[in-house]
Symmetry: C2
Subunit: 287 residues, 2 copies
Protein backbone atom coordinates (compact mmCIF):
# COMPACT_ATOMS: atom_id res chain seq x y z
CA UNK A 1 0.00 0.00 0.00
CA UNK A 2 1.34 3.39 -0.94
CA UNK A 3 -0.22 6.67 -0.03
CA UNK A 4 0.06 9.95 -1.91
CA UNK A 5 3.80 10.60 -2.34
CA UNK A 6 3.70 14.05 -0.75
CA UNK A 7 1.51 13.17 2.21
CA UNK A 8 2.94 13.60 5.68
CA UNK A 9 1.07 12.56 8.79
CA UNK A 10 1.39 15.18 11.48
CA UNK A 11 1.76 13.39 14.77
CA UNK A 12 -0.94 15.55 16.39
CA UNK A 13 -3.48 13.63 14.31
CA UNK A 14 -2.64 10.50 16.32
CA UNK A 15 -1.90 12.36 19.51
CA UNK A 16 -1.98 9.44 21.91
CA UNK A 17 0.48 7.24 19.97
CA UNK A 18 4.06 7.22 21.23
CA UNK A 19 6.83 7.96 18.74
CA UNK A 20 7.57 4.35 17.83
CA UNK A 21 3.90 3.65 17.24
CA UNK A 22 3.45 6.84 15.25
CA UNK A 23 6.35 5.97 12.96
CA UNK A 24 5.09 2.42 12.54
CA UNK A 25 1.48 3.25 11.68
CA UNK A 26 2.63 5.99 9.31
CA UNK A 27 4.86 3.57 7.44
CA UNK A 28 2.26 0.82 7.54
CA UNK A 29 -0.24 3.14 5.88
CA UNK A 30 2.23 3.71 3.07
CA UNK A 31 2.82 7.31 4.08
CA UNK A 32 6.35 8.54 3.37
CA UNK A 33 6.71 11.39 5.85
CA UNK A 34 5.78 12.46 9.34
CA UNK A 35 5.47 15.77 11.16
CA UNK A 36 6.85 15.34 14.67
CA UNK A 37 5.96 16.92 17.99
CA UNK A 38 8.44 17.69 20.71
CA UNK A 39 6.62 15.98 23.56
CA UNK A 40 6.69 12.42 22.18
CA UNK A 41 10.29 13.03 21.06
CA UNK A 42 11.21 14.11 24.58
CA UNK A 43 9.46 11.07 26.01
CA UNK A 44 12.12 8.80 24.48
CA UNK A 45 14.97 11.31 24.39
CA UNK A 46 16.41 13.00 21.30
CA UNK A 47 19.08 10.37 20.53
CA UNK A 48 16.63 7.51 20.67
CA UNK A 49 14.13 9.54 18.67
CA UNK A 50 16.70 10.17 15.94
CA UNK A 51 17.51 6.45 15.82
CA UNK A 52 13.85 5.53 15.56
CA UNK A 53 13.30 8.08 12.83
CA UNK A 54 16.35 6.84 10.90
CA UNK A 55 15.18 3.25 11.17
CA UNK A 56 11.70 4.17 9.96
CA UNK A 57 12.92 5.35 6.58
CA UNK A 58 10.43 8.20 6.78
CA UNK A 59 11.02 11.81 5.93
CA UNK A 60 10.42 14.37 8.68
CA UNK A 61 8.45 17.32 7.34
CA UNK A 62 8.47 19.56 10.44
CA UNK A 63 8.85 19.69 14.19
CA UNK A 64 6.02 21.18 16.24
CA UNK A 65 6.54 23.40 18.07
CA UNK A 66 8.40 26.34 19.43
CA UNK A 67 7.24 29.84 20.12
CA UNK A 68 5.12 31.00 23.06
CA UNK A 69 7.33 34.04 23.44
CA UNK A 70 5.01 37.00 23.93
CA UNK A 71 6.08 37.62 27.53
CA UNK A 72 7.65 40.92 28.53
CA UNK A 73 11.37 40.84 29.29
CA UNK A 74 12.22 38.76 32.34
CA UNK A 75 13.01 35.23 33.45
CA UNK A 76 9.93 33.71 31.78
CA UNK A 77 10.88 35.20 28.45
CA UNK A 78 14.49 34.07 28.80
CA UNK A 79 13.30 30.55 29.63
CA UNK A 80 11.04 30.55 26.57
CA UNK A 81 13.90 31.62 24.33
CA UNK A 82 16.21 29.00 25.81
CA UNK A 83 13.56 26.37 25.15
CA UNK A 84 13.26 27.54 21.57
CA UNK A 85 17.01 27.15 21.15
CA UNK A 86 16.71 23.55 22.28
CA UNK A 87 13.86 23.08 19.82
CA UNK A 88 16.07 24.39 17.00
CA UNK A 89 18.69 21.78 17.83
CA UNK A 90 16.03 19.08 17.93
CA UNK A 91 14.62 20.11 14.56
CA UNK A 92 18.09 20.00 13.01
CA UNK A 93 18.95 16.60 14.51
CA UNK A 94 15.68 14.95 13.55
CA UNK A 95 15.77 16.23 9.97
CA UNK A 96 19.37 15.08 9.62
CA UNK A 97 18.53 11.61 10.92
CA UNK A 98 15.50 11.19 8.68
CA UNK A 99 15.30 10.22 5.03
CA UNK A 100 16.42 12.56 2.25
CA UNK A 101 13.87 15.25 1.46
CA UNK A 102 13.24 16.00 5.12
CA UNK A 103 12.65 19.61 6.13
CA UNK A 104 14.38 21.25 9.10
CA UNK A 105 11.28 23.34 9.82
CA UNK A 106 10.49 24.34 13.39
CA UNK A 107 6.87 25.47 13.64
CA UNK A 108 6.42 28.50 15.89
CA UNK A 109 3.16 29.40 17.60
CA UNK A 110 3.52 32.90 18.98
CA UNK A 111 1.53 32.49 22.17
CA UNK A 112 -1.34 34.59 23.46
CA UNK A 113 -1.69 37.73 25.51
CA UNK A 114 0.15 37.58 28.84
CA UNK A 115 -2.24 37.49 31.82
CA UNK A 116 -3.92 40.84 32.32
CA UNK A 117 -2.35 42.31 29.19
CA UNK A 118 -4.71 43.71 26.52
CA UNK A 119 -2.05 45.22 24.26
CA UNK A 120 -2.14 42.81 21.34
CA UNK A 121 0.08 45.02 19.19
CA UNK A 122 2.71 44.90 21.93
CA UNK A 123 2.47 41.13 22.19
CA UNK A 124 2.89 40.86 18.44
CA UNK A 125 5.97 43.07 18.55
CA UNK A 126 7.48 40.89 21.26
CA UNK A 127 6.86 37.78 19.17
CA UNK A 128 8.69 39.41 16.27
CA UNK A 129 11.55 40.43 18.56
CA UNK A 130 11.85 36.88 19.89
CA UNK A 131 12.17 35.55 16.36
CA UNK A 132 14.87 38.12 15.77
CA UNK A 133 16.78 36.78 18.76
CA UNK A 134 16.56 33.23 17.41
CA UNK A 135 17.51 33.88 13.79
CA UNK A 136 21.24 33.39 14.20
CA UNK A 137 20.75 30.14 16.11
CA UNK A 138 18.44 28.92 13.36
CA UNK A 139 20.90 29.83 10.60
CA UNK A 140 23.73 28.14 12.40
CA UNK A 141 21.67 24.98 12.73
CA UNK A 142 20.27 25.13 9.22
CA UNK A 143 16.73 25.30 10.61
CA UNK A 144 13.86 27.36 9.24
CA UNK A 145 11.84 29.17 11.90
CA UNK A 146 8.34 28.60 10.57
CA UNK A 147 5.84 31.19 11.76
CA UNK A 148 2.30 29.86 12.04
CA UNK A 149 -0.59 32.26 11.68
CA UNK A 150 -3.30 30.97 13.99
CA UNK A 151 -7.03 31.35 13.48
CA UNK A 152 -8.18 34.66 15.03
CA UNK A 153 -10.31 32.76 17.53
CA UNK A 154 -7.02 31.90 19.26
CA UNK A 155 -5.62 35.44 19.29
CA UNK A 156 -6.19 35.97 23.01
CA UNK A 157 -4.96 32.73 24.46
CA UNK A 158 -2.80 30.86 21.96
CA UNK A 159 -1.35 32.78 19.07
CA UNK A 160 -1.34 36.53 18.44
CA UNK A 161 -0.15 36.15 14.84
CA UNK A 162 -3.54 36.00 13.14
CA UNK A 163 -3.11 36.19 9.38
CA UNK A 164 -0.72 34.95 6.73
CA UNK A 165 -0.02 38.55 5.80
CA UNK A 166 1.01 39.34 9.34
CA UNK A 167 3.23 36.24 9.51
CA UNK A 168 4.91 37.38 6.32
CA UNK A 169 5.32 40.91 7.66
CA UNK A 170 7.36 39.31 10.43
CA UNK A 171 9.22 36.74 8.34
CA UNK A 172 10.28 39.25 5.71
CA UNK A 173 12.29 41.15 8.28
CA UNK A 174 14.73 38.22 8.27
CA UNK A 175 16.52 36.08 5.66
CA UNK A 176 14.30 33.57 3.87
CA UNK A 177 16.63 30.66 4.66
CA UNK A 178 16.04 31.26 8.39
CA UNK A 179 12.42 32.41 8.70
CA UNK A 180 9.41 31.16 6.77
CA UNK A 181 5.73 30.52 7.32
CA UNK A 182 3.41 27.56 7.52
CA UNK A 183 0.12 27.70 5.68
CA UNK A 184 -2.43 25.64 7.63
CA UNK A 185 -5.78 25.59 5.88
CA UNK A 186 -7.68 25.34 9.15
CA UNK A 187 -6.22 28.62 10.37
CA UNK A 188 -6.27 30.69 7.18
CA UNK A 189 -9.02 29.40 4.89
CA UNK A 190 -11.44 32.24 5.72
CA UNK A 191 -9.03 35.08 4.86
CA UNK A 192 -10.16 37.26 1.95
CA UNK A 193 -6.49 38.09 1.35
CA UNK A 194 -5.43 34.45 1.17
CA UNK A 195 -4.76 34.18 -2.58
CA UNK A 196 -2.66 37.34 -2.61
CA UNK A 197 -0.74 36.37 0.53
CA UNK A 198 0.01 32.83 -0.67
CA UNK A 199 1.41 34.31 -3.87
CA UNK A 200 3.48 36.76 -1.83
CA UNK A 201 4.80 33.92 0.32
CA UNK A 202 5.79 32.00 -2.76
CA UNK A 203 7.56 34.94 -4.40
CA UNK A 204 9.65 35.39 -1.29
CA UNK A 205 10.48 31.71 -0.89
CA UNK A 206 8.76 31.75 2.50
CA UNK A 207 6.50 28.68 2.36
CA UNK A 208 8.28 26.34 4.74
CA UNK A 209 5.32 24.04 5.37
CA UNK A 210 1.81 23.39 4.11
CA UNK A 211 -0.70 21.73 6.41
CA UNK A 212 -4.22 20.67 5.52
CA UNK A 213 -7.20 19.98 7.72
CA UNK A 214 -10.85 20.76 7.31
CA UNK A 215 -13.20 23.13 9.16
CA UNK A 216 -16.15 21.36 10.72
CA UNK A 217 -19.43 22.88 11.92
CA UNK A 218 -20.96 23.21 14.36
CA UNK A 219 -17.79 24.17 16.17
CA UNK A 220 -16.76 21.57 18.74
CA UNK A 221 -17.33 22.54 22.35
CA UNK A 222 -13.56 22.90 22.50
CA UNK A 223 -13.15 24.98 19.36
CA UNK A 224 -9.53 23.92 19.03
CA UNK A 225 -10.70 20.41 18.23
CA UNK A 226 -13.17 21.32 15.50
CA UNK A 227 -11.08 19.89 12.69
CA UNK A 228 -11.92 17.10 10.33
CA UNK A 229 -10.40 14.86 7.70
CA UNK A 230 -9.76 16.48 4.36
CA UNK A 231 -13.02 16.66 2.45
CA UNK A 232 -15.30 16.36 5.47
CA UNK A 233 -15.79 20.10 6.07
CA UNK A 234 -16.24 23.51 4.49
CA UNK A 235 -12.81 24.31 3.08
CA UNK A 236 -12.16 24.25 -0.64
CA UNK A 237 -8.88 22.38 -0.20
CA UNK A 238 -8.17 21.80 -3.91
CA UNK A 239 -8.45 25.55 -4.50
CA UNK A 240 -5.99 26.36 -1.71
CA UNK A 241 -3.65 23.54 -2.72
CA UNK A 242 -3.62 24.94 -6.25
CA UNK A 243 -2.65 28.37 -4.90
CA UNK A 244 0.14 26.86 -2.82
CA UNK A 245 1.39 24.89 -5.78
CA UNK A 246 1.19 27.92 -8.08
CA UNK A 247 3.31 29.70 -5.48
CA UNK A 248 6.01 27.11 -6.06
CA UNK A 249 5.72 24.85 -3.04
CA UNK A 250 6.63 21.25 -3.85
CA UNK A 251 7.35 19.85 -0.39
CA UNK A 252 5.49 17.42 1.82
CA UNK A 253 1.95 18.27 2.82
CA UNK A 254 0.98 17.53 6.39
CA UNK A 255 -2.41 16.46 7.60
CA UNK A 256 -2.83 17.89 11.09
CA UNK A 257 -6.17 17.24 12.78
CA UNK A 258 -7.05 18.08 16.36
CA UNK A 259 -10.22 16.10 16.98
CA UNK A 260 -11.16 14.11 20.06
CA UNK A 261 -13.01 11.37 18.20
CA UNK A 262 -10.04 10.87 15.85
CA UNK A 263 -7.63 10.84 18.80
CA UNK A 264 -9.78 8.18 20.47
CA UNK A 265 -9.65 5.97 17.37
CA UNK A 266 -7.00 3.33 16.59
CA UNK A 267 -3.93 5.19 15.24
CA UNK A 268 -3.33 2.66 12.49
CA UNK A 269 -6.88 3.12 11.28
CA UNK A 270 -6.52 6.91 11.50
CA UNK A 271 -3.35 6.79 9.41
CA UNK A 272 -5.10 4.75 6.71
CA UNK A 273 -8.16 7.00 6.75
CA UNK A 274 -5.88 10.05 6.54
CA UNK A 275 -4.16 8.62 3.48
CA UNK A 276 -7.45 7.82 1.76
CA UNK A 277 -9.05 11.17 2.52
CA UNK A 278 -5.93 13.04 1.46
CA UNK A 279 -5.73 11.27 -1.87
CA UNK A 280 -9.41 11.92 -2.50
CA UNK A 281 -9.88 15.46 -1.32
CA UNK A 282 -6.73 17.50 -0.67
CA UNK A 283 -6.14 18.39 -4.29
CA UNK A 284 -2.37 18.03 -4.00
CA UNK A 285 -0.51 16.99 -7.13
CA UNK A 286 2.03 14.19 -7.04
CA UNK A 287 4.95 16.23 -8.36
Amino acid sequence: MTAHPRLSLNQATIKYADLATALEVTRAAGIGAIGLWREPVAAVGLDKACALVADSGLRVSSLCRGGFFTQPEGPERRAALADNRRAIEEAAALAAAAAPGSAPALVLVAGGLPPGDRDIAGARARARDAIGELVEDARAAGVVLTVEPMHPMFAADRGVVSTLGQALDIAEQFPAEAVGVVIDTYHVWWDPELPAQIARAGRGGRIASYQVGDWMTPLASDALLSRGHTGDGHIDLPAISALVEAAGYRGDVEVEIFNQAIWDDDPAAVARRTADAFAAAAGVTAV
Copy 2:
Protein backbone atom coordinates in the same frame (compact mmCIF):
# COMPACT_ATOMS: atom_id res chain seq x y z
CA MET B 1 -29.91 57.48 37.59
CA THR B 2 -28.27 58.39 34.32
CA ALA B 3 -25.97 56.16 32.32
CA HIS B 4 -23.28 57.25 29.89
CA PRO B 5 -25.04 59.57 27.40
CA ARG B 6 -23.91 57.59 24.35
CA LEU B 7 -24.68 54.13 25.67
CA SER B 8 -27.23 52.03 23.84
CA LEU B 9 -28.35 48.64 25.12
CA ASN B 10 -28.56 46.17 22.29
CA GLN B 11 -31.58 44.03 22.89
CA ALA B 12 -29.58 40.82 22.31
CA THR B 13 -27.92 41.45 25.67
CA ILE B 14 -31.30 40.85 27.35
CA LYS B 15 -32.47 38.34 24.80
CA TYR B 16 -35.37 36.86 26.77
CA ALA B 17 -37.05 40.19 27.57
CA ASP B 18 -40.00 41.17 25.38
CA LEU B 19 -39.95 44.58 23.72
CA ALA B 20 -41.93 46.39 26.43
CA THR B 21 -39.70 44.96 29.15
CA ALA B 22 -36.55 45.75 27.19
CA LEU B 23 -37.59 49.37 26.75
CA GLU B 24 -38.56 49.65 30.41
CA VAL B 25 -35.35 48.20 31.88
CA THR B 26 -33.25 50.28 29.49
CA ARG B 27 -34.96 53.46 30.60
CA ALA B 28 -34.93 52.44 34.26
CA ALA B 29 -31.16 51.98 34.06
CA GLY B 30 -30.86 55.54 32.79
CA ILE B 31 -29.77 54.41 29.34
CA GLY B 32 -30.91 56.71 26.53
CA ALA B 33 -30.90 54.38 23.55
CA ILE B 34 -31.64 50.83 22.52
CA GLY B 35 -30.60 48.60 19.63
CA LEU B 36 -33.62 46.57 18.54
CA TRP B 37 -34.02 43.10 17.09
CA ARG B 38 -36.63 42.15 14.56
CA GLU B 39 -38.00 39.12 16.40
CA PRO B 40 -39.28 40.93 19.52
CA VAL B 41 -40.57 43.72 17.26
CA ALA B 42 -42.47 41.17 15.18
CA ALA B 43 -43.86 39.58 18.33
CA VAL B 44 -45.95 42.71 19.02
CA GLY B 45 -46.28 43.91 15.42
CA LEU B 46 -44.54 46.90 13.87
CA ASP B 47 -47.24 49.48 14.66
CA LYS B 48 -47.38 48.51 18.33
CA ALA B 49 -43.59 48.40 18.45
CA CYS B 50 -43.35 51.92 17.05
CA ALA B 51 -45.86 53.13 19.64
CA LEU B 52 -43.96 51.48 22.48
CA VAL B 53 -40.69 52.94 21.24
CA ALA B 54 -42.23 56.42 20.93
CA ASP B 55 -43.65 56.19 24.45
CA SER B 56 -40.29 55.09 25.86
CA GLY B 57 -38.56 58.31 24.89
CA LEU B 58 -35.52 56.24 23.91
CA ARG B 59 -33.41 56.62 20.81
CA VAL B 60 -33.12 53.60 18.52
CA SER B 61 -29.51 53.07 17.47
CA SER B 62 -29.97 50.16 15.05
CA LEU B 63 -32.20 47.31 13.99
CA CYS B 64 -30.73 43.79 13.96
CA ARG B 65 -30.81 42.21 11.51
CA GLY B 66 -31.09 41.61 7.84
CA GLY B 67 -28.80 39.76 5.49
CA PHE B 68 -28.45 35.98 5.14
CA PHE B 69 -28.35 36.38 1.40
CA THR B 70 -25.53 34.15 0.17
CA GLN B 71 -27.83 31.71 -1.63
CA PRO B 72 -27.53 31.19 -5.38
CA GLU B 73 -30.32 32.65 -7.51
CA GLY B 74 -33.67 31.01 -6.89
CA PRO B 75 -36.74 31.18 -4.68
CA GLU B 76 -34.74 31.09 -1.43
CA ARG B 77 -32.67 34.06 -2.49
CA ARG B 78 -35.74 35.99 -3.64
CA ALA B 79 -37.42 35.27 -0.29
CA ALA B 80 -34.33 36.50 1.56
CA LEU B 81 -34.28 39.73 -0.44
CA ALA B 82 -38.01 40.28 0.13
CA ASP B 83 -37.45 39.80 3.83
CA ASN B 84 -34.63 42.34 3.75
CA ARG B 85 -36.95 44.84 2.09
CA ARG B 86 -39.40 44.39 4.95
CA ALA B 87 -36.53 44.90 7.38
CA ILE B 88 -35.63 48.17 5.66
CA GLU B 89 -39.18 49.42 6.17
CA GLU B 90 -39.09 48.36 9.82
CA ALA B 91 -35.77 50.13 10.43
CA ALA B 92 -37.15 53.32 8.91
CA ALA B 93 -40.39 53.18 10.87
CA LEU B 94 -38.75 52.45 14.21
CA ALA B 95 -36.13 55.17 13.83
CA ALA B 96 -38.83 57.66 12.85
CA ALA B 97 -40.94 56.76 15.86
CA ALA B 98 -38.05 56.97 18.31
CA ALA B 99 -36.47 59.99 19.94
CA PRO B 100 -34.35 62.47 17.96
CA GLY B 101 -30.83 61.21 17.34
CA SER B 102 -32.02 57.77 16.35
CA ALA B 103 -30.19 55.96 13.54
CA PRO B 104 -31.99 54.21 10.69
CA ALA B 105 -29.29 51.55 10.55
CA LEU B 106 -30.19 48.01 9.48
CA VAL B 107 -27.44 45.61 10.51
CA LEU B 108 -26.72 42.99 7.86
CA VAL B 109 -25.11 39.63 8.58
CA ALA B 110 -24.16 38.08 5.28
CA GLY B 111 -24.91 34.46 6.09
CA GLY B 112 -22.65 31.45 5.71
CA LEU B 113 -21.83 29.02 2.94
CA PRO B 114 -24.88 27.37 1.40
CA PRO B 115 -25.09 23.63 2.21
CA GLY B 116 -22.45 21.69 0.31
CA ASP B 117 -20.89 24.84 -1.13
CA ARG B 118 -17.19 25.44 -0.43
CA ASP B 119 -16.76 28.48 -2.67
CA ILE B 120 -16.43 31.24 -0.10
CA ALA B 121 -15.40 33.81 -2.71
CA GLY B 122 -18.60 33.08 -4.59
CA ALA B 123 -20.70 33.41 -1.44
CA ARG B 124 -19.05 36.74 -0.72
CA ALA B 125 -19.80 37.95 -4.24
CA ARG B 126 -23.45 36.98 -3.84
CA ALA B 127 -23.64 38.92 -0.56
CA ARG B 128 -22.28 41.98 -2.33
CA ASP B 129 -24.76 41.52 -5.17
CA ALA B 130 -27.63 41.25 -2.71
CA ILE B 131 -26.64 44.53 -1.12
CA GLY B 132 -26.57 46.05 -4.57
CA GLU B 133 -30.15 44.91 -5.11
CA LEU B 134 -31.25 46.53 -1.85
CA VAL B 135 -29.49 49.87 -2.19
CA GLU B 136 -32.31 51.71 -3.93
CA ASP B 137 -34.86 50.47 -1.40
CA ALA B 138 -32.60 51.64 1.40
CA ARG B 139 -32.11 55.07 -0.14
CA ALA B 140 -35.81 55.49 -0.70
CA ALA B 141 -36.48 54.65 2.94
CA GLY B 142 -33.56 56.69 4.29
CA VAL B 143 -32.03 53.57 5.83
CA VAL B 144 -28.33 52.72 6.00
CA LEU B 145 -27.54 49.11 5.11
CA THR B 146 -24.94 48.36 7.76
CA VAL B 147 -22.59 45.53 6.81
CA GLU B 148 -21.28 43.58 9.77
CA PRO B 149 -17.93 41.85 9.49
CA MET B 150 -18.22 38.69 11.56
CA HIS B 151 -15.41 36.97 13.43
CA PRO B 152 -13.70 34.48 11.07
CA MET B 153 -14.81 31.61 13.28
CA PHE B 154 -18.29 32.19 11.84
CA ALA B 155 -17.22 32.31 8.20
CA ALA B 156 -18.61 28.87 7.34
CA ASP B 157 -21.98 28.96 9.01
CA ARG B 158 -22.99 32.53 9.84
CA GLY B 159 -21.23 35.32 8.04
CA VAL B 160 -18.81 35.17 5.12
CA VAL B 161 -17.79 38.82 5.48
CA SER B 162 -14.82 38.35 7.79
CA THR B 163 -12.91 41.62 8.14
CA LEU B 164 -13.64 45.31 8.35
CA GLY B 165 -11.55 45.80 5.22
CA GLN B 166 -13.72 43.36 3.32
CA ALA B 167 -16.91 45.01 4.59
CA LEU B 168 -15.58 48.34 3.36
CA ASP B 169 -14.61 46.83 0.01
CA ILE B 170 -18.29 46.01 -0.36
CA ALA B 171 -19.73 49.20 1.11
CA GLU B 172 -17.56 51.47 -0.98
CA GLN B 173 -19.16 50.16 -4.15
CA PHE B 174 -22.32 52.03 -3.10
CA PRO B 175 -23.20 55.53 -1.84
CA ALA B 176 -22.22 56.20 1.79
CA GLU B 177 -25.72 57.37 2.70
CA ALA B 178 -27.07 53.93 1.81
CA VAL B 179 -24.33 51.45 2.80
CA GLY B 180 -22.09 51.58 5.84
CA VAL B 181 -20.45 49.20 8.28
CA VAL B 182 -20.76 48.28 11.91
CA ILE B 183 -17.62 47.93 13.97
CA ASP B 184 -18.24 45.31 16.67
CA THR B 185 -15.21 44.89 18.89
CA TYR B 186 -15.97 41.22 19.50
CA HIS B 187 -15.72 40.45 15.81
CA VAL B 188 -12.78 42.63 14.78
CA TRP B 189 -10.53 43.21 17.80
CA TRP B 190 -7.89 40.68 16.66
CA ASP B 191 -7.35 42.21 13.19
CA PRO B 192 -3.83 43.55 12.60
CA GLU B 193 -5.34 45.93 10.02
CA LEU B 194 -7.92 47.32 12.44
CA PRO B 195 -6.44 50.79 13.02
CA ALA B 196 -5.98 51.40 9.30
CA GLN B 197 -9.42 50.09 8.43
CA ILE B 198 -11.21 52.11 11.12
CA ALA B 199 -9.50 55.22 9.77
CA ARG B 200 -10.55 54.26 6.25
CA ALA B 201 -14.14 53.76 7.41
CA GLY B 202 -14.13 57.17 9.02
CA ARG B 203 -12.71 58.94 5.98
CA GLY B 204 -15.46 57.50 3.86
CA GLY B 205 -18.24 58.29 6.30
CA ARG B 206 -19.01 54.59 6.57
CA ILE B 207 -19.25 54.00 10.31
CA ALA B 208 -22.97 53.47 10.77
CA SER B 209 -22.73 51.71 14.14
CA TYR B 210 -20.21 50.93 16.85
CA GLN B 211 -20.82 47.96 19.13
CA VAL B 212 -18.74 46.92 22.11
CA GLY B 213 -18.47 43.60 23.87
CA ASP B 214 -15.52 41.77 25.34
CA TRP B 215 -13.75 38.54 24.35
CA MET B 216 -13.74 35.94 27.09
CA THR B 217 -11.53 32.89 27.43
CA PRO B 218 -11.70 30.01 27.54
CA LEU B 219 -14.15 30.11 24.65
CA ALA B 220 -17.65 29.06 25.69
CA SER B 221 -18.76 25.64 24.51
CA ASP B 222 -20.99 27.55 22.10
CA ALA B 223 -18.36 29.96 20.82
CA LEU B 224 -21.03 32.43 19.73
CA LEU B 225 -21.81 33.06 23.39
CA SER B 226 -18.26 33.74 24.55
CA ARG B 227 -18.81 37.44 25.09
CA GLY B 228 -18.56 39.40 28.28
CA HIS B 229 -19.30 42.77 29.79
CA THR B 230 -16.96 45.55 28.79
CA GLY B 231 -13.78 45.27 30.80
CA ASP B 232 -14.18 41.61 31.71
CA GLY B 233 -12.13 40.17 28.83
CA HIS B 234 -9.08 40.58 26.62
CA ILE B 235 -10.00 43.49 24.35
CA ASP B 236 -8.39 46.88 24.78
CA LEU B 237 -11.72 48.68 24.41
CA PRO B 238 -10.45 52.19 25.20
CA ALA B 239 -7.88 51.84 22.43
CA ILE B 240 -10.48 50.79 19.87
CA SER B 241 -12.97 53.42 21.08
CA ALA B 242 -10.27 56.04 20.61
CA LEU B 243 -9.70 54.87 17.04
CA VAL B 244 -13.43 55.00 16.31
CA GLU B 245 -13.68 58.47 17.82
CA ALA B 246 -10.61 59.67 15.91
CA ALA B 247 -12.36 58.42 12.78
CA GLY B 248 -15.18 60.85 13.52
CA TYR B 249 -17.91 58.64 14.91
CA ARG B 250 -20.05 60.45 17.48
CA GLY B 251 -23.17 58.29 17.56
CA ASP B 252 -24.56 55.91 20.11
CA VAL B 253 -22.43 52.96 21.17
CA GLU B 254 -24.20 49.65 21.61
CA VAL B 255 -23.33 46.98 24.11
CA GLU B 256 -24.19 43.65 22.50
CA ILE B 257 -23.40 40.56 24.53
CA PHE B 258 -24.36 37.01 23.63
CA ASN B 259 -23.81 35.11 26.87
CA GLN B 260 -26.02 32.44 28.38
CA ALA B 261 -25.38 33.44 31.99
CA ILE B 262 -26.22 37.06 31.22
CA TRP B 263 -29.36 36.00 29.35
CA ASP B 264 -30.42 33.95 32.37
CA ASP B 265 -30.03 36.92 34.71
CA ASP B 266 -32.71 39.50 35.53
CA PRO B 267 -32.86 41.95 32.58
CA ALA B 268 -33.14 44.99 34.84
CA ALA B 269 -30.00 43.91 36.66
CA VAL B 270 -28.23 43.26 33.35
CA ALA B 271 -29.15 46.73 32.11
CA ARG B 272 -27.72 48.33 35.27
CA ARG B 273 -24.58 46.21 35.12
CA THR B 274 -24.17 47.08 31.43
CA ALA B 275 -24.36 50.78 32.24
CA ASP B 276 -21.82 50.50 35.05
CA ALA B 277 -19.36 48.40 33.05
CA PHE B 278 -19.69 50.65 30.03
CA ALA B 279 -18.97 53.78 32.02
CA ALA B 280 -15.98 52.15 33.65
CA ALA B 281 -14.37 50.28 30.78
CA ALA B 282 -15.53 51.12 27.28
CA GLY B 283 -13.43 54.24 26.93
CA VAL B 284 -16.13 56.15 25.10
CA THR B 285 -16.16 59.92 25.53
CA ALA B 286 -19.35 61.75 26.39
CA VAL B 287 -19.32 64.11 23.39
